[in-house]
Subunit: 406 residues, 2 copies
């Protein structure tokens, strides 16, 4: 019999970064029952094998699934090969060419391989929904369709908009949410995860499970992650994405390009940082955005490529980006610390020999002539926590540089 | 190779009493091609085996099908057992309890037996749509559903009304018209018949055949026959119907109870009267409604029960209905005819000894004291054509009766 952390502890992790938990009371009951019986919960995530390259946006729900795995629950990844094999002969969607069984399986395997960078591979069950949906007859479909109404279907945001605007909705499109709901019945899901845009489909799963006499799944929605621009949803077509298979250097650099306002959100949604550490990361993101962003870049790169690659990416970034304006041979300085890992900016400048005194250092900061890794510093009272960041280059005036290492 | 009547002759019969032929040009092309190649057209009629008792309202489309048979074409009667076997678990329709295969077949056989009173049994093919619909997979259904849109479905009158009034429409209800359309593909229908309320479904058959690469069927709709009240659609639940399995006496009596305004409509839609005779029947219905209605009752009773039973029904009607107010033993009179089968009312009264002179007879008519089969006669110049009617009872004043026979 498995043992699970206390429900309140589990809730802390599960609630992290979620948009909605519907309904939360049922989640609590399910967690309590699971803990009492030692039976892990079945957590469902559907994936679309027609999109071969995963990015951090996709990883948000995968991370949530991973958190459930870490708590001892069972992940079931559903590859939606059923619709993939059908394609869309209506010509209305170019997104869904019919795939052969082999192509579908290949896409599914590729998805799984990528997802495994986030998931605990050994504890993930991967299933193809053509297994049960492909076995359903017209009669089964009619019986399934009886369980919902047209009005309910057209209530889905995107359908409602298209219907109101007289844009054609293929009748088959109403069948896809039913198919996805039937997946929940087939695997007897306790919980289904999805982006906020999946809320309707997740709730449909609840309804169809109820109609099938099952205990209905709890629906957990996760926010849609903004891309590098900080505005639009992360997506390949907008080219504002960070692919999870991207090279460490590109990954590191791309993370640094996000707006400061997203730093904490990325920590919360896209990293494996301990949930208990989130409050202090929130404060740091606001107080020291530049350093915290480097920290974020390092964490994300480490998650997908390991610690060594992350360090190399960081160094690469310094070499190619920061040092662009920096002479080749600048002195290194290892700060003498008197207060843990922290050091005041003015002290550091003077220690490194870039200024004659803290007074001169303060004047230069006020003049806007001091920068860290190429970014101007305005606050002369800045205290730098070396534990939180990678080596960096400090500059005072036009020509005085030092590389700070520790 | 079969030979068919000229297309213009066929059209005369096919157009009789129809509401719409969509599109008429294609009907003409199909008839021309059929005549040129000697290939009979496949004429489809779907029937709902959940309604076991047929009435004259159902017979309207069956008669049209029979006309096609008489012209040499092939009738295919589709028993909609597929949906019957599914039932309606949504609880929204009490009309569709799930039926076993056996029940469905029994209902189908019963329908066929009743329909055979109208159809040429030997030239009717009866098929059960579960044969092909039951073999369809979820994937097949999705591919079928791709061929139409939600907006198009909700355009159907009854759906539009229910949707606008927030009455629930089960999602499965949108699948039934598709199923019916698929029937047309399965049997490669050239023509489908239905009531005006079936127009949408018939057109869906056209669309789905086109999408399947078939020559689309021509849709022929027939009016909904009014019941005995002359207002509402004939239906069992309104108790305004004439069942095709009803006893001859009941059938005869019920036909007599329709309003005069419906006499011609019944001739046109519900009898096997030669199409060429319709114009003269139209005139007679207006000029001599009472006699023409008896003629109609005799024709309809003869169609379903044969000539002898029709005559017995007529006699029964006289005995029980007309003679109610008539003494048991009244004299019979066989008129002496001088002018073919016609005789003037006044002459008849005097000949039969009910009046002393044509002058007395005229006065009684003007006083409203003369009746035929219980119905007051207002026109003293009335000429009765005995060839057109059954024996009848004539009455003059309170106590003078004669039974007119010939």
């Amino acid at each position: 019999m498995m043992t699970f952390p206390p429900v309140s502890e589990q809730l802390l992790h599960i609630q992290r970064g979620t948009d909605e938990i519907i309904p939360k009371e049922e989640l609590i009951s399910k967690l309590e029952a699971s803990r009492a019986s030692g039976r892990p919960l079945v957590v469902k995530l559907g994936c679309d094998p027609s999109r071969p390259d995963l990015h951090l946006g996709h990883a948000v729900v995968l991370r949530k699934l991973r958190q459930f795995q870490d708590l001892g629950h069972r992940a079931v990844l559903i590859v939606g090969d059923f619709t993939g094999m059908i394609g869309d002969a209506s010509g209305r969607s170019k997104m869904r060419p019919a795939l052969s069984l082999e192509e579908t399986r290949q896409n599914g395997a590729s998805y799984f391989e990528q997802a495994s960078k986030v998931l605990n591979k050994e504890r993930t069950r991967i299933v193809y929904n053509s297994e049960w949906l492909g076995a359903m007859s017209f009669g089964d479909v009619v019986r399934l369709a009886m369980k919902t109404t047209v009005a309910r279907m057209l209530n889905r945001d995107d359908f409602a908009t298209r219907y109101a605007q007289d844009e054609p909705i293929g009748l088959h499109e109403l069948l896809y949410p039913l198919a996805q709901a039937q997946d929940s019945v087939a695997i007897e899901a306790d919980i289904e995860l999805g982006g906020t845009d999946q809320k309707f489909n997740l709730l449909m799963g609840r309804a169809i499970q109820k109609a099938a006499g099952q205990s209905p799944q709890v629906c957990i929605t996760l926010p849609i992650l903004e891309g590098l621009d900080g505005k639009e949803k992360m997506s390949k077509s907008l080219d504002n994405y960070i692919g999870i298979a991207e090279a460490p250097e590109d990954m590191y650099g791309k993370v640094l390009s996000i707006p400061d306002s997203l730093i904490y959100r990325y920590f919360e949604l896209a990293t494996d940082t301990d949930t208990h550490d989130l409050p202090s990361l929130k404060r740091q993101s606001a107080a020291q955005p530049r350093d915290t962003k480097h920290h974020l870049a390092a964490v994300i790169t480490r998650m997908y490529h390991g610690r060594a690659a992350a360090r190399r990416a960081q160094e690469h970034f310094e070499r190619t980006v920061i040092r662009k304006e920096v002479p080749d041979d600048i002195p290194s300085h290892r700060p003498e610390l008197t207060d843990g890992s922290e050091i005041g900016l003015l002290t550091l400048l003077t220690q490194a020999g870039l200024t004659a005194s803290n007074g001169e250092a303060r004047r230069l900061v006020v003049q806007g002539a001091v920068s860290l890794d190429g970014e101007r510093v305005a606050n002369s009272r800045l205290v730098i926590d070396l534990a939180d960041r990678a080596p960096f280059v400090v500059r005072a005036g036009k020509r005085r540089f030092a590389r700070i290492v520790w």
